[in-house]
């Protein structure tokens, strides 16, 4: 996909002025956020489970080579074909090769962010295959020639009216006067159209929420059941996933399942959690005849020895973006690449380079809500700050910002100079403020504030001065 992460500021401006998008995003707080809070309150052990979940992933990542080897051995013993893809290009080539060998004409897909990451659809379509997204949100995004704007709710940027308009535009074989007023009517129409695709498909591609070493399985979690029809009806099931998805045992995955849906949608559990192991067994009347698993690295292994390894714990629930004030204001597309929100701001620089993704770690107020809701307790604000530090060290930030930061550093590391400068500055602003009636309508450098409201003038003395006076016993 096209990368526009470098243009985050411009993207954000467009998003803020997009009335339709703002209407669609306004449902987040009352929806996914409130539902997560309610689910957390129903399970008293939730916070303790987060700590265990974090420890499971830390242990697995510290032994990632061994757990992947065990998983691979078990998977192959069950009849899986296993492929390792260092880069996105490798993964595309491997999947294309499998589809060609299967003489695939129609390929159905369950939801997979890794497939977005490697640009799989365009690659297969370029070879003449029909690729059909079957998750309803992904289907909507596909017929609009867009990309997902959220990792679990890909069409969260769309309103119901837009969906109706798109269905009328694309499903031209259906009667023009059909009624499409209520969501169930829209879901029904998509169901009928996609049902035919499931049955026609030669290859079904899904992602994986987890790989399990104990059993050699891959696991998908859905509410619609599309991932199951995708993998059960086609002759060939291809799983596209990444190295960070492996967990040791069924007990470990039980803990993560308790965290995933509650953090994502506030459900106790998603409707369908499916463990797939190998192809159909001898005598099985259904299920795929071949089962292939493609495991992508694409920059993840390079994070293991660094502070950013903590981001590899992510189980892709989307809670960080649901709770992020920046995501809530601009939506997912503004981030300019596959993974939006706080987790995107942390992993995109690793996957596509800091030079391209530099604005993303800056797109945060550091309010800390993302870390406080992350089921894997990833210290997202700290990791964004680490990227900012590295960006500055690499010479990023632009001449003005760098000069400003250097001037600030010069002041902040010299306390006497700092106190003198702030005393003089605050005194001058306080004096100026008295002429302006106690508030400024505009002031250099703070246009972002004064464009919408007045800036209250300081009263003439700094906090440090007031603190010293209080300590000396001056009455307030």
């Amino acid at each position: 996909m096209d990368v526009t992460a470098h243009a985050f500021k411009d993207n954000a401006k467009v998003a803020l002025a997009d009335a339709q998008l703002q209407r669609a995003l306004s449902g987040l707080k009352g929806g996914l956020v409130a539902q997560r809070t309610a689910a957390r309150e129903r399970l008293p052990e939730f916070e303790a489970l987060r700590e265990i979940g974090r420890d499971i992933k830390n242990h697995t990542l510290a032994n990632l080579d061994l757990y992947l080897e065990v998983w691979e051995t078990k998977a192959k013993a069950a009849g899986a074909h296993v492929y390792w893809a260092p880069t996105a290009a490798d993964a595309r080539e491997i999947v294309l090769d499998i589809c060609r060998q299967a003489n695939a004409r129609v390929v159905t897909k369950g939801k997979s962010m890794v497939s977005e990451e490697i640009g799989l659809n365009a690659h297969l379509q370029g070879q003449g295959m029909e690729v059909v997204e079957t998750d309803l949100g992904e289907y909507l995004v596909q017929i609009r020639k867009e990309t997902p704007s959220h990792i679990i709710a890909p069409a969260i940027h769309l309103t119901q009216d837009q969906v109706e308009a798109d269905f009328r535009r694309v499903h031209t074989h259906l009667p023009k006067d059909r009624v499409l007023v209520e969501p169930p009517q829209l879901v029904d129409e998509a169901r009928k159209i996609l049902r035919e695709k499931f049955i026609k498909a030669d290859v079904g591609i899904t992602g994986a929420n987890f790989l399990i070493s104990e059993t050699g399985s891959s696991v998908i979690v859905t509410n619609e059941g599309n991932g199951d029809l995708t993998q059960s009806l086609a002759k060939v099931h291809v799983v596209i996933t990444s190295i960070d998805k492996v967990v040791p045992t069924l007990e470990d995955v039980s803990t993560l399942i308790r965290l995933l849906a509650r953090s994502a949608t506030g459900q106790e559990i998603s409707t369908y959690t499916t463990f797939s192991t190998g192809p159909r067994r001898p005598g099985d009347p259904d299920g795929p005849e071949q089962y292939h698993v493609v495991v992508l690295d694409n920059g993840r292994s390079a994070l293991l020895g660094t502070p950013f390894r903590e981001a590899l714990r992510c189980i892709r629930c989307g809670a960080c973006m649901n709770h992020c004030p920046v995501y809530g204001a601009v939506g997912g597309h503004a981030y300019g690449w596959v993974y939006p929100g706080p987790i995107g701001a942390v992993i995109n620089p690793a996957l596509i380079g800091l030079k391209e993704a530099a604005p993303l770690p800056h797109a945060s107020t550091f309010c800390g809500r993302c870390e406080s809701v992350c089921p894997m307790k990833i210290p997202l604000p700290k990791l964004m700050r680490d990227w900012r530090t590295q960006d500055f060290a690499d010479g990023g930030g632009g001449a003005g910002a760098r000069l400003g930061l250097k001037a600030w550093a010069a002041l902040a590391t010299r306390p006497r100079l700092y106190h003198l400068a702030t005393r003089l500055g605050i005194a001058a602003l306080g004096m100026a403020g008295r002429f302006k009636g106690g508030a400024f309508r505009s002031l250099p450098f703070v246009g972002g504030w004064t464009r919408h409201r007045d800036l209250p003038a300081p009263q003439g003395r700094t906090f440090q001065q007031l603190w010293a006076e209080t300590k000396a016993g001056v009455p307030r």
Binding site: G27, I52, N63, L136, P154, Q160, E214, L250, R258, P285
Partner: protein
């Protein structure tokens, strides 16, 4: 396949070692390989701290009540019967109430084959995997999980996986004595049937009928899988 490890052009093996070499470098600070392998083997052998929520530790009666409560909350219909001989009547009564045809398809599960279907001559039973025209699928669960109202299904000739997803209505039979408190206990039941580390082609956890929230954030039932689900709990 050319991309697999054993592929003729060697590209699979090269790609594999490229990834594993980088991972080994990244984890090298965490002890010797022998130490790490011992920790991995211990965990895979079942030694790891886990936390089972209190709600998932009830007695048999409490487990059944919680299982039913969650399933109903997830929009399933739940019926209890005294024994397998009452299953045909329960199905007929459900199908009639939902205004559905008196025809179900099921696999070869001996627990279902042993049911006296002749008691309800109006009900037609087809065998085998689901076909696109089937209205009602009938399966037998290997276990239930009380903590979230979840059914555990094992694929195969006994219970073809397509019966879970293709028909518009899914009827699932589960024995009350197979309702576990938590996922861990249910997985132990799967291990008890297949042995540790072994799975059927799919093990499916199902917690109600299919749904989506992808249009305007409103929950709609019957996205791709079944629109409705009836769970029959057999007490005896």
């Amino acid at each position: 396949m050319s991309g697999e490890n054993s592929g003729p052009d060697g590209s699979g093996a090269r790609r594999r070692s490229a990834i594993f070499d980088r991972i080994r470098t990244g984890v090298s600070g965490g002890g010797t390989v022998a130490q790490r392998r011992a920790a991995v083997d211990a965990r895979l052998g079942g030694q790891a701290p886990h936390l089972i929520p209190e709600r998932a530790k009830k007695d048999a009666e409490g487990r059944k009540a919680l299982f039913v409560e969650h399933l109903k909350g997830q929009s399933a219909t739940v019926v209890s019967v005294a024994g397998p001989e009452d299953i045909p009547e329960a199905i007929v009564s459900y199908l009639r109430g939902a205004n559905l045809p008196m025809r179900v398809r099921m696999g070869d599960d001996p627990r279902l084959q042993g049911v006296p279907w002749a008691k309800q001559p109006a009900l037609t039973c087809d065998r085998g995997r689901a076909q696109p025209g089937d209205e009602v699928g009938l399966s037998h669960a290997v276990a239930g999980v009380a903590e979230t109202g979840t059914l555990v299904m094992m694929s195969g000739g006994d219970n073809p996986v397509t019966l879970n997803y293709l028909p518009e209505t899914h009827v699932v039979v589960v024995k009350a004595s197979d309702i576990a408190g938590n996922y861990e206990a249910a997985f132990d039941q799967v291990r008890g049937r297949l042995g540790r580390g072994t799975m059927t082609r799919t093990v499916n956890l199902i917690s109600g009928p299919s749904r989506t929230g992808d249009i305007g954030g409103r929950l709609v039932m019957g996205a791709h899988g079944p629109r409705r689900m009836c769970v029959i709990i057999v007490d005896g």
